[in-house]
């Protein structure tokens, strides 16, 4: 078993040197090829001595071919191990940098020691201080675990190749020349591809990805895109490339299933009356339409990243970023709510996200910051639907928080994955609308590293206490528009309009101190309308300028009715 103290000392240089030596030896052996051929028995020489000479030469040939095959296998193994050790070195350096930056020490046995200097902390922010320490400690432990796993894998693979070569077990595969033997041996000298950790956290996944060489990453994206497309902790660019590689396969699978279902229905006198074939066919068609909408969105001008593609549930799930989540200074993740689907909603939300990015960046450019923004539409869960069946019989009914809880289990690692995949964390904002605010509220009760939360038109955040929303104190915002009845439900926790400690920002018509006119958004679905006060408020929080937000408690008649009775929550 390899220890962390071992792998942190590993260097690729000696392996590269060994590869150079092996190259020389291999070339020398291959150079003997002509000499071996010339050493054949002279033509016309017959008799017992000639037969023995031929047999001896044949034996020498075979031994040489096995030797060359073995050297070629070791040469390739050493070369790949050198690349792998170099990649592992980068991963370890990143881990050590994170530890140093945050005053942690990693011991040789892999344990993590908090070495932060004793300093006074603002009591108002003490919880978030310890939350952040815990998050970094978990990240370091997971990264160390993956470095050791990777180191062990390299060690085992190379040891196996060396052992086989030493025992002469590298097969020349019937080669009749030294060149052919070398090619056969090289085929047996490759290191295995290490799969992602099973059930890994975003930091496990990031640690695994960082430990791979560039060639291994490219191979995985091309040959196993399903490993990384939805893997939280892998950089957005890699997820995007992998998921785009998956689209044709997913479509082919859906079309095949569609043909099967249509054939079943055609063959059945009663159609879908006594089977679920017609209902499933409807779902398959909606998923095919979802793929079309995803491709149309990805084809839009400007950078898009397909960060999630999941066809395994009743409805398609996807996440599309406008911009680049790997390099943006500010990243916003928007979770929509009731009735949201990829086929029906992605296009409109992508329009809103592109607009939000554009507005935030122009504002940042004018005021001299010039930083970059990426905005993500995350439809990564089975949002409730407004069908009769969906309301009453579906586990994911809007009348229950089941769907929000299940969604939060996937949203929290998605958010952590953005931080985990980068050397430096972006300024990150979670945006949650309607039932999506419930999903976001529950997700943020975990330790996600999100810096700001903006909820709008919320039926409740899955808590009555704003302190349960784990963003830095004072960084939760709520917008409620006039005539938004959903915002007054208080169904999944009290109406956020009445939450102590929540920042209430406006959806009303506004004239800003600088003279800017912004329009009112009314009802439940207009919060992201262009040039509205609510959209402006989203853009300034996303862009890291919350001091410019327009404040307002947003309380109307509905909020009088939704006022919680003290002592009952």
């Amino acid at each position: 078993m390899v220890a962390y103290g071992d792998v942190r000392k590993w260097q690729s240089g000696p392996l590269d040197t060994a590869v150079g030596d092996l190259n020389k030896r291999c070339d020398e052996l291959l150079g003997l090829s002509d000499e071996l051929a010339a050493s054949g028995t002279p033509q016309g020489w017959t008799g017992q001595a000639a037969d023995q000479a031929r047999a001896k030469r044949e034996d020498l040939n075979n031994r040489m071919e096995r030797l060359v095959a073995g050297v070629a296998a070791v040469r390739r193994g050493m070369g790949e191990a050198a690349d792998a050790v170099e990649a592992l070195g980068h991963a370890i350096k990143e881990t050590e940098d994170i530890a140093q930056r945050h005053h942690f020490v990693i011991r040789d046995d892999g344990s993590i020691v908090d070495n932060a200097p004793d300093t006074a902390h603002d009591p108002a922010h003490i919880d978030e201080y310890f939350r952040e320490r815990q998050r970094i400690q978990t990240e370091l432990a997971d990264r160390v675990e993956q470095a050791v796993r990777r180191g062990t894998d390299i060690d085992n693979d190379l040891a196996a190749i060396l052992t086989r070569a030493e025992k002469g077990e590298v097969d020349d595969q019937g080669a009749t020349s030294l060149q052919a033997a070398a090619a056969a041996g090289a085929k047996q000298g490759g290191l295995s591809t290490l799969e992602p950790p099973k059930g890994g956290s975003p930091w496990d996944n990031a640690g695994w990805w960082d430990s791979l060489s560039e060639a291994e990453r490219k191979q995985i994206i091309a040959q196993h895109p399903e490993w990384v497309g939805n893997l939280d902790g892998v950089p957005g660019a890699a997820r995007d490339e992998a998921n785009r590689n998956r689209i044709d396969d997913e479509r082919a699978k859906l079309e095949a299933r569609k043909r099967e279902l249509e054939a079943d229905l055609d063959d059945n006198w009663f159609g879908g009356t006594f089977t679920n074939a017609d209902a499933e066919l409807e779902q398959v068609n909606a998923k095919l339409e979802s793929l079309k909408k995803i491709e149309e969105t990805l084809a839009q001008p400007g950078e898009r990243q397909l960060l999630l593609l999941n066809m395994s549930n009743e409805r398609a799930e996807a996440a599309v970023a406008v911009g680049n989540i790997d390099t943006a200074d500010h990243v916003a993740v928007f979770t929509p709510g009731l009735t949201s689907t990829v086929d029906g909603s992605l296009k409109g939300y992508d329009d809103a996200m592109d607009n939000l990015k554009h507005r935030s960046e122009e504002e940042l450019a004018r005021y001299g910051d010039g930083s970059k923004v990426a905005t993500v539409t995350w439809i990564g869960y089975q949002a409730p639907q407004l069908t009769g069946h969906g309301l009453i019989f579906d586990d994911n009914t809007v009348l229950d928080d089941h769907s929000a809880k299940e969604g939060a289990k996937k949203l929290a690692p998605f958010l952590n994955g953005i931080d985990a995949s980068r050397a430096t964390d972006p300024h990150m904002t979670a945006l949650g609308h309607s039932y999506g605010s419930t999903t976001t509220g529950i997700a943020l009760q975990q330790n996600t590293g999100v810096d700001n939360a903006v909820f709008y038109g919320s039926p409740g955040l899955g808590t009555n206490d704003v302190d349960k929303i784990n963003v830095p104190t004072g960084n939760s915002y709520y917008v409620e528009a006039k005539n938004d009845a959903v915002g007054d439900f208080g169904y999944f926790g009290i109406d956020p309009s009445h939450m102590d400690g929540m920042n209430h920002v406006s959806a009303k018509e506004t004239t800003l101190p600088d003279g800017r006119q912004l329009s009112e958004s009314t009802g439940h679905s207009a919060y992201m309308t262009d040039k509205s006060t609510s959209q402006y408020n989203l853009s300034v929080v996303v862009g890291g300028m919350p001091e410019r937000a327009v404040r307002d408690d947003g309380k109307g008649f509905g909020d009088v009715l939704s006022w919680p009775v003290p002592g009952t929550y």
């Binding site: 149309e296 554009h358 450019a365 600088d514 003279g515």
Partner: protein, 153 residues
Amino acid sequence: MSKDEQYAELLKRPDIEQIHDEYTKMLEEIRNELVAQIGIAPWVPKDEPFSGSGCAEFSDLSEAHKRRYSSGHSPGNLPDARWADAVKLVESIAGRHGFKLHGAVVDRPSDHEVTFGNDYGAELLFGTAANTTLSVSTGCHLTKAAKERGKPA
């Protein structure tokens, strides 16, 4: 609006490729003239000068598009004393492309922004604070192919 009504509405407008050609030329002319006549610093373009999306307002039409153009920024503040001249210059060029001055968005010392609009729902923003910026968000427009087809897809 029904799908046919949405299509009929957009059929009256230039296609998105025509809009792209027209607005990129207009923005380039404005940028050049601001440097030449007002004396602002040369523009620093963005890596990605424009982006696009579908149209939430015409949700039934997959071939309806919007674009958002950024000019990057011209470093530094455009002095208050030259602001009115700069706005007139922008207005004279943008006006030839159907944009009308809708008014000041921001108007205070060293911090100004004006907005222009056209009949297609486009918005041109021109402003200055720490830097000078110029951008256009288009309204919704069909693709050339969708217009030539003469009916919704």
